[in-house]
Symmetry: C2
Subunit: 402 residues, 2 copies
């Protein structure tokens, strides 16, 4: 039977080594084949063959004419192909749609964001609009010679990632929407498409390239109208038994408190979600919550008492919930992101005070409160990076792409 096993193993070793070489270039920058052999411990002829396949896949390219005339001609260096793989992150927010593309070096190649409160708009109209934005982005990327390797769509609610279904998004009023199928059909492309929770993707983005780098245990709070979170434990995103973890906005902070859109009472987001803060600060009107959040920050900066009181109160409630999370999980940091990120300077002090009071281990280790680094792009960046990491793990997976 061995002749059946050996070729498979060789193929899987080669497939693995394609990733080793591609990651060495993506992380280390342009490289000669000989350098790659030293970097990876693979022999030179293997490296040459792997590089040839990666060039063929459109992921690496020869580094143009430089050194071409030099004495001894050490061969051309290879680099990440400029017209190579590109990954898409898509997002349905409560008050925006976004499309983002990044190449294998992490460089942003395209960004589109269309604002406007989506609550109350028909699901089909929203998906039509996002599909239209995605198709336009794909055309633009392909016209520039790039090869889209996949897309992940970030959604503000409970997502069954395996089925690609949004089960519920209380703040959008969406229930049981087969986003992967519906959006995929509208885009009408062979592009691999997945769906995930926006708070999970934002937390991953902060872990990979933001405030969470080097922090192994933290909660990343994605505060918008709703409040989601990603829980990172030991440097890995916690997904839980069914992928439904991180619903920080539905931690009960006030059991007899106001009714939440989810049907429970006294959820954190009914006390510290953007609508609750804006309402307490007396900032009403028809502008999208994100725009009004800007107004809130301006007023707070100007010393407006109502704005400051509303932020203080929200920080306190965030601290009650974060204290509970820290007691359960022994976190090193609470990262404040999403629309709450720019408000973190006013939220942090009351939040920290609650942590010092409520965390049993506070005398030895009180979690730091940090503002997120990536801003409102965190979820789409995390979504695109999720695709890129898969290409870097298994470059041969792009073989079937257009």
């Amino acid at each position: 039977m061995e002749h059946h096993i050996a070729p498979t193993t060789q193929r899987s070793v080669r497939r693995h080594n394609l990733g080793v070489v591609l990651r060495a270039v993506a992380e280390g920058g342009p490289r000669w084949r000989a350098t790659l052999a030293t970097d990876t411990g693979l022999n030179k002829s293997t490296v040459s063959s792997l590089v040839a396949e990666l060039i063929d896949l459109g992921l690496l390219a020869e580094r143009g004419a430089e050194r071409r005339g030099s004495v001894g001609r050490p061969g051309l260096a290879v680099e990440i192909a400029e017209d190579g793989a590109v990954a898409l992150g898509l997002e349905v927010g409560v008050d925006w749609l976004a499309v983002h593309a990044a190449d294998l070096t992490g460089t942003v190649r395209l960004e589109r964001r269309e604002g406007g409160d989506l609550r109350g708009r028909p699901v089909t109209a929203v998906l039509d609009q996002l599909a239209e934005m995605t198709r336009a982005a794909l055309d633009e990327l392909r016209a520039a010679g790039m090869r889209p390797a996949g897309a992940v769509v970030a959604l503000p609610g409970l997502v069954d990632a395996r089925a690609g279904t949004l089960l519920v998004a209380p703040n959008l009023g969406w229930n049981d929407v087969a986003v992967r199928a519906e959006l995929g059909e509208r885009i009408g492309d062979s592009l691999p498409l997945e769906a995930d929770n926006e708070a999970n993707l934002s937390a991953l983005a902060e872990l990979w390239e933001g405030a969470g780098r080097g922090v192994r245990d933290f909660l990343h709070v994605s505060g918008e109208v709703g409040i989601g979170a990603g829980v990172v434990i030991g440097g890995r995103l916690l997904r839980g038994a069914h992928g439904f973890g991180g619903e920080f906005g539905h931690v009960t902070v006030d059991p007899g408190g106001p009714l939440c859109a989810c049907g429970s009472r006294g959820c954190l987001e009914s006390r510290a979600g953007l609508e609750a803060i804006l309402g307490a600060a007396g900032i009403t009107g028809n502008a999208a919550p994100a725009a009004r959040a800007g107004e809130l920050a301006e007023r707070a900066r100007a010393g407006d008492a109502d704005a400051l009181a509303a932020l203080h109160e929200a920080g306190r409630w965030l601290g009650v919930a974060a204290g509970s999370a820290a007691n359960l999980l022994d976190l090193s940091a609470i990262v404040i992101g999403g629309a709450l990120g720019p408000l973190a300077e006013w939220l942090a002090e009351p939040l920290e005070r609650e942590l010092r009071t409520r965390v049993l281990a506070a005398s030895w280790a009180v979690p730091s409160v940090l503002p997120a680094r990536l801003g409102p792009e965190a979820a789409v960046r995390g979504a695109a990076t999720q695709v890129l990491r898969r290409v870097l793990e298994d470059p041969a997976s792009v073989r079937t792409l257009v």
Copy 2:
């Protein structure tokens, strides 16, 4: 340099394989050497040599005279040595001290428990008493030919496991007690000694041999005077950034509620800890809380309205906190253990009702509420098993023991 590396590697491979063989016997029962070779994939002469070393370490023994006269004489089977390694679990509870010993098959070889409310007793007197119990147990075990391989002491508070220090146990009123050093000195033995949080150890015991077997994501609630918990994620105990995770009793359920022994307000244990329930049910007196918990169960069984109301109220508060934990962690089960275990039949219904209301994903996956299986012995069993698992991983570690 290779001659420096190879012997080390060979030794570490051999050390690893000692564990492979020992675990095969511990899990599979008595075995011939030839069967062990088949079971483990090691060759027969290697197995014979490893078995000889395990017999020399006192961990395996030849299986006596059986088959001795049989035709063909296939050699003696080996089994876990009856006079082999034994592991100790010790515990300082709020109202008991316990010592427990188990051998490599998991069979309990000794159990001692001394009741009495420890609150207010001097730390030194309590440690003197536990050391005395431990010394007596060691004498008894050694007299029976067993070799104690180590002890873990379970403590009802925040433990710095690396230092072996109890940082704080609000319900005992203990602060900063170097339990490993202080207790080790009193025992006056070369026995390796470690300290850990009782709720972590109880959760591990339920995971390994109780209600948590086969459940990959659950919260094990250790309810005594205080309420601790072990958080199991993906089949592993979450310890957090500093080992302080699982402080479920200090999840805030009622932010303006009663002052807790920890200094915060409205902690779960001030609403659903044993003292709170007994107080609400009107069961006062000088008996230790565990004894009064028995009285509470009797009254509830007899239909006493105050007892039932107190349990209903506690279940509701447990549900508020468990709902928050489930929203964050996407748990499959809430296991009710410790002194609350025998009360689970009355706590479960209001607890489940809160979960159904408060968990965002409840329509798709509401955590089950399960009674713990192991009872008040969970922490000492987990403590002893912790030692045993280490011996099974690395049998050579017992070489230096008496």
